[in-house]
Symmetry: C2
Subunit: 221 residues, 2 copies
């Protein structure tokens, strides 16, 4: 009566110049061996403290990525989603910079645009759609998008990230007012982005208190 397969999957998202992309890996085992899919695996009841620990382990083992922004998305379950039987997948989503992804030494890693997903096994397409929709929705009023950039970034870069996620341009003055009001960034003193033939931009970083936690803002962007 209670024979249920328990797994975790991780939606690893990053932002390229083309928009949001999701990291896919070729599956090492049946079912769907060799097919690109979300990184995932069984829960190890003997070593994982909880599902979050399992997700962190899976991400570390399969991509080498350590402790990025990692949050529970939702749990997908049912008799129909996995040929092996009634299954539960506790899904987490992680946000990393593109630089983190390109460091990964795995030849079978694919970045797929979330707007043009290939066919995927299980219900991974709908999982990814849920993750993207959650990220876009939270971007309207939180500091979440910062985690898609490297540790130090400029305000114009951050604004472009918000604009890509929200799919609309944001008024520059309003954006900067909002950033001041949210009070989550600190200038990286003396650090400037001097690329390009123009005035250099101040580099900022997330204040330490907001590395693992979100900053919410009263009204959206």
């Amino acid at each position: 009566m209670n024979q249920v397969i328990c797994t975790v999957d991780v939606v690893l998202l990053t932002l390229s110049t083309d928009g949001l992309e999701v990291a896919l890996l070729r599956r090492e085992h049946a079912p769907f061996k060799g097919v690109a899919a979300l990184p995932g695996g069984y829960i190890h009841a003997d070593t994982d403290a909880d599902a979050r620990g399992a997700a962190r382990r899976v991400l570390q083992d399969k991509t080498g990525i350590e402790a990025p922004y990692l949050e529970q998305l939702a749990t997908f379950s049912g008799a129909a989603r996995d040929p092996r039987g009634w299954s539960v997948s506790i899904v987490y989503y992680a946000l990393v910079s593109l630089a983190m992804i390109t460091q990964i030494e795995r030849s079978d890693l694919v970045l797929a645009s979330v707007d043009r997903l290939p066919p995927l096994p299980f219900d991974h397409v709908s999982i990814i759609e849920t993750a993207v929709s959650r990220l876009r929705s939270k971007s309207q009023y939180s500091s979440l998008p910062c985690h898609l950039l490297s540790e130090e970034f400029t305000l114009p870069q951050l604004q472009r990230v918000y604009e890509m996620l929200l799919g609309e341009s944001i008024n520059k003055v309003s954006f900067r007012r909002k950033m001041t009001e949210m009070d989550m960034l600190e200038p990286a003193d003396g650090h400037f982005d001097t690329a390009g033939a123009h005035r250099p931009a101040q580099l900022y970083r997330l204040k330490p208190a907001f590395h693992k936690q979100l900053r919410l803002v009263e009204r959206g962007f």
Copy 2:
């Protein structure tokens, strides 16, 4: 390696004059037999289509409540939360009117104020806190609170619900402007709430399209 206990739990919330309350039932089986706890149970892989179906079944079997607003909250998991071993609980939360709860014919049902929870088994206290925080947070910008009232209700009643959830008074004009803008209510023509020595209030109901789905609003209340 994969011996994991799979259960669902339901946080059944309602609003009394004293504020938010959660429904607790005495457990019928060990562990914690006889102790008040969230309604829950094992997933039945042979009959449940998915975890949502299991949650609906548990709610129906234990309280007789059928198909209320029911949404996945989060999944709680780990080695430490259940003495039986490594466990996963996929938790749903449901919103119903107080009238729905008082209809339940079960002598061991307890309503506990979410602000003064008794000691509870497992991690049920933290589950309830998560549910309450989710509800309060979503109340800032969605139609969620409607489900805490009966099918027909007046705008002043609805405003009081929002105020209790948000813990602050709302400007009446702004509230009604927002309701018009959200466009989720329809007047129950000819139906008025005639209680009290004053002008009767128009009764409204949620438009059918929003019974199972949320209406979001751009800016909060």
